[in-house]
Symmetry: C2
């Protein structure tokens, strides 16, 4: 096998996939679907040789005629020369946290009270013939005498350095301690590091959120509680699968698990170096990390095989993982620092949700609260300080732009909001990066669906009204469709020629299923505890996608319940905030454990009422229009076009 | 640099030592003195090129004329060709434990009571949609419900394997637990392993003793408490230094520490494979190791730099090291098994002594007891169950055959016992391996010294009586000497020609100093607590050398106190026995910690009375002959030659 244009050659056995050969040759092909042949992003051109295409689902006949083949689905049968097209740079709008610019210290913070890290200065009496106490006992004694800290434990890597540090520092050192190692409330203090001289004026930790798409790092000054620097970057695992399912599949291949772990560690390492550099410290000055993320992300981070998360009955290996040393894991902070992964509840209700429930205040409020993270898994929690019930609905990736003909992620060129004229049925739209559109992202699809519905292009069953007087509604290859952008206004060049950006019947069906799943999810939650959903006092929306939702339109399609807009709160990344608060406070950390412990997980696929609720919600906005009085009002009296027009102008 | 006869060549910088170049070329030169130029064992022949001999202490002019140079002391100044003579195989009599052949279970053993390892069989209810508990919590729940074992902890390597083991085993597994991980009496149970099916009928641990010279491994069936197999082998570190001081020096060179750790791990690995193979198990079936050894050996085993042990004021980095995972250390048992290094007291009173004090029963007796390990450091403990005081006297390596003109270790060809005729002054001797003698080992030297004294060849000051009528007493190169073996009866071929085996004035002086240091040691111990040494009720002698001591002769030279022979007990390897008992019982383990904690360490170099006692003991048997009535009796009335003759015949 030879790869062009880099001219790298590898020997592989006949029967290997091109993707495997490329991996061996060190060529990084994008495989956002995890190598399942679904995304078409790993297409290469066969210049010479014999190959067999197992699947070419995403390739047109024209593409195949040109020699295109999917690297993940094409078997090498003999010598071959393959041209690798320039790999598309994964270029997206980062999910910048709206609240991130200025993260405020979340409570009356006292670094000595509830925060487990401590740096203490010691002037140790040097050993002599009259006092031959060993170095480690001598240090323990000084901690006891000078700071009343008793029963400190340590480990081998620390002991290996201890003797020379103490002597080189002339017995004047700063000891960094973790006061409740291993998360046991009564756990012994643990010696994390010993550094020469007095270094008690600085003490850092990091709060990390490992999202499927983006990773966030907060560098926290533990003496003030303030976030010194924060950085966000894409999870490099994206190249091996866009969603958790693709990554779980990838993890099951050869060393896929190790590779995915390396990729996320690489991303984190880059972020950690950046925050450290900005704060003018070394990454080894970071003495603790708390980590939040969904269950799959944490399994991959820890290199615990996630396979069973994907397969019925959907089981994680571990929801509350033990504390791990950074060095053991390969996280680029002080190797002897503890890495604390926050606890999750189930395969699809992870630490990101428990962290969110606590950091949003839901776990401590008397108000009946609905917490939602809208995405592929649509995690939803209902409850108060006294009880919590959670579910995850397999909404599918439609709101993330996948499984939709011209859907895409919220990257440059994505249509993110749409308005349709009630009379002409002509659309106006806003594109990320203000350029020619390539496709439609989740918020754009949500917006489009609502507009199609309220303008009467779609009926309540989601059927397109072909009899309306506009060329935009037509029969296409995959059934009826609505043309959002004509080909000549697009930037849809790629494998083949330009084409119209449309939304098809199939797409609409996928979107309806997604919104129905989410709506049915919290309806079932409420029913299961005998609570009237109308009594919900506040809806807290976390997660990346939540920030871009237009509440009005989300209610119009029946995704969100019909209640006054002021009851909705978009909280941004509640997961990293939970991670940050847990870093600052053992008490918060304990609350997250408790929240995870008392959160009842309702498995919807095992719930009989879910299917009924789902079916009822497959309409726009719902079979029972009485649940959506504000939508009924619009449908009856028409909407105020001005409001929408104003928005267009503002944009 | 080129090495013959292997024709290996390496590039090194001018100024490098031949030893360094050889190391780089992968040539294993013996350096028992640790590369200090003291032993002469790394001698090579310079065939061509320019070198500079920094020291050639152990080479004669004749040797140098032949081209010999010490690899550890010879600087390369240009291209050179060096011939490496065949490296002497380190061939010694193994210190087989007299009691080892049949180690009896030391107490009424109950595998469930006091032994921390447990293997329990679990039939776990598989997960379902109705019960989505994560694997780890499910296992914990089964342990709690079926075996009443609560709060079990685990770690990442275990979690990484857990999911697949449980599923492949169809949820029927054996869990191996350590009930008090991390040595905390109230510590939580720790999951060590999960294996498919019911494997509760076997459970193994190992007790290890890391001696400076030999390493011992007992494979212990933890269900019966019996030692299944035991093996002993030389510590491969010997090639890098015979004694602890040489090894500490070697550890300070480049990666010397890492190399020494690898060497002892290699030795242990070999032993562990042998015991496992014999018992028809895998080394991964071994779920715990307790390790005893002197402080330097344990530092090297853990790769904790031992440097400060050697330098005044003689400080260890750690006397009570934390439990370590075998995988972290590289010990060839189950990687998730705990390796428990027993606690020591000081640089020269290590875990081997605390283990000995407990396993010998000294820590639990009302009798005033003297515990001795005679060797370079002459560790001595005095006390009862109520108090313990210990010291180490730098006896020097004379009793180990080093620092003596024709001294050698107790290997093949060593004279191990000597008898001298009172009238003719002709010696008879016994040689290890019954062959031509090469030199004299420790017990041979002790025996020789006693015989020289009681036959009047030496006076009480240790001076040779030149006026006696025998050619064996003569003036030699290094002062007066006694010829033990004439050249033609020897096997002393080597660098140069054969020579007589003699004991010189200097040797005798070294031996007197060694025995005086040990005698002074326990005298000072007794004085320091105000106890009359004559009140000692029993003398327990542990360690390798102890086994070969002839009590009568040891008393004659004033090494051991003059008391009835039945009060002396040779216990063999009390260190490995302590390790074995600690493996079986948390209670014994606790006793060893307590013994270490309450043992007062007396630093002789800081003690004013030690020098006086030492000086008084530099005579044969002692300045104050009244302390040795039985010797006075022999000197006055002559000895019973028959007894000795009988022994010769018996041999």
């Amino acid at each position: 096998m030879r790869f062009e244009p880099t001219d790298k050659a590898v020997e592989v056995r006949a029967g290997s996939l091109i993707g495997e050969a490329a991996h061996e040759a060190g060529i990084d092909l994008n495989m956002p679907c995890g190598g399942q042949g679904r995304c078409g992003r790993c297409a290469v051109i066969i210049e010479d040789g014999t190959v067999r295409r197992r699947s070419s689902l995403r390739l047109s006949d024209e593409d195949i005629a040109k020699g295109y083949a999917l690297a993940c689905q094409t078997v090498i049968e003999g010598d071959a020369v393959v041209m690798v097209p320039p790999q598309e740079k994964i270029e997206r709008r980062l999910t910048t946290d709206k609240t991130a610019a200025e993260v405020t210290v979340p409570f009356d913070y006292d670094p000595l009270r509830d925060q487990p890290l401590r740096a203490v200065y010691l002037e140790i009496e040097p050993p002599s013939l009259a006092d031959q106490t060993d170095d480690w006992s001598r240090l323990q004694r000084a901690l006891r005498r000078e700071h009343n800290i008793d029963g400190v434990e340590t480990d081998l890597p620390m002991l290996r350095r201890l003797g020379s540090i103490l002597r080189e520092a002339d017995w004047r050192v700063t000891a960094v301690l973790e006061m409740d190692a291993y998360h046991r409330p009564d756990g012994p203090p643990r010696l994390v590091d010993v550094v020469p001289g007095n270094r008690t004026e600085r003490l850092y930790g990091v709060a990390i959120d490992i999202g499927t798409t983006s990773n966030v790092v907060y560098l926290v000054d533990l003496l003030s509680g303030r976030v010194e620097v924060q950085r966000v970057d894409y999870n490099a695992q994206i190249a091996r699968g866009e969603d958790v399912i693709s990554r779980i599949i990838y993890a099951g291949k050869n060393d896929g698990l190790g590779e995915l772990q390396s990729l996320v560690l690489k991303t984190l390492s880059k972020l950690l170096e950046r925050v450290a550099k900005r704060a003018r410290i070394e990454t080894t000055d970071i003495y603790k990390a708390t980590v939040s993320g969904n269950s799959t992300m944490l399994h991959l981070f820890l290199a615990v095989p996630p396979e069973s998360i994907r397969l019925t009955p959907y089981i994680t290996t571990v929801n509350q993982s033990p504390a791990v040393m950074a060095g053991e894991l390969g996280l680029d902070i002080n190797p002897n620092a503890t890495v604390d992964c926050l606890p999750g509840v189930a395969s699809y209700v992870g630490a990101d949700i428990t962290a969110g429930v606590v950091s949003s205040g839901m776990a401590d409020t008397e108000k009946l609260t609905l917490f939602m993270d809208i995405g592929t898994n649509g995690e939803t929690v209902l409850g108060t300080r006294d009880w919590l019930i959670a579910c995850a609905c397999s909404a599918g990736p439609a709101f993330e732009g996948a499984g939709v003909e011209h859907g895409m992620r919220a990257t440059l060129g994505a249509i993110e909001e749409v308005w349709i004229h009630s009379d002409t049925f002509e659309p106006t739209y806003r594109v990320i990066g203000e350029r020619e559109p390539k496709g439609i992202c989740g918020s754009g699809l949500l917006s489009l669906l609502a507009e199609l519905f309220v303008t009467g292009i779609l009926d309540k069953s989601g059927d397109l009204q072909l009899d309306l007087d506009t060329p935009r509604i037509r029969e296409g290859e995959h059934g009826d469709e609505y043309v959002v952008v004509w080909a000549d206004e697009t930037d849809t060049g790629g494998l083949a020629s330009k084409h119209d950006i449309v939304i098809t019947e199939v797409d609409i069906d996928n979107l309806l299923r997604a919104k129905a799943a989410i709506y049915a999810g919290y309806t079932v939650l409420a029913e299961s505890v005998g609570v009237d959903p109308a009594l919900v006092e506040q809806v807290l929306i976390g997660g990346a996608f939540g920030q871009y939702i237009n509440i009005e339109k989300a209610i119009q399609i029946g995704l969100l319940p019909d209640m006054p807009w002021e009851q909705f709160h978009f909280l941004g990344n509640t997961s990293v905030r939970g991670s940050y608060m847990a870093l600052l406070s053992r008490n918060v950390r304990q609350q997250i454990s408790e929240a995870a412990g008392r959160m009842t997980y309702l498995e919807l696929s095992a719930d009989n009422t879910f299917y009924d609720q789902f079916t009822s919600a497959l309409f726009l906005p719902h079979t029972d229009i009485a649940q959506f009085p504000s939508v009924e009002e619009i449908l009856t009296n028409g909407r105020t076009e001005t409001t929408e027009r104003e928005k267009v102008c503002a944009a």
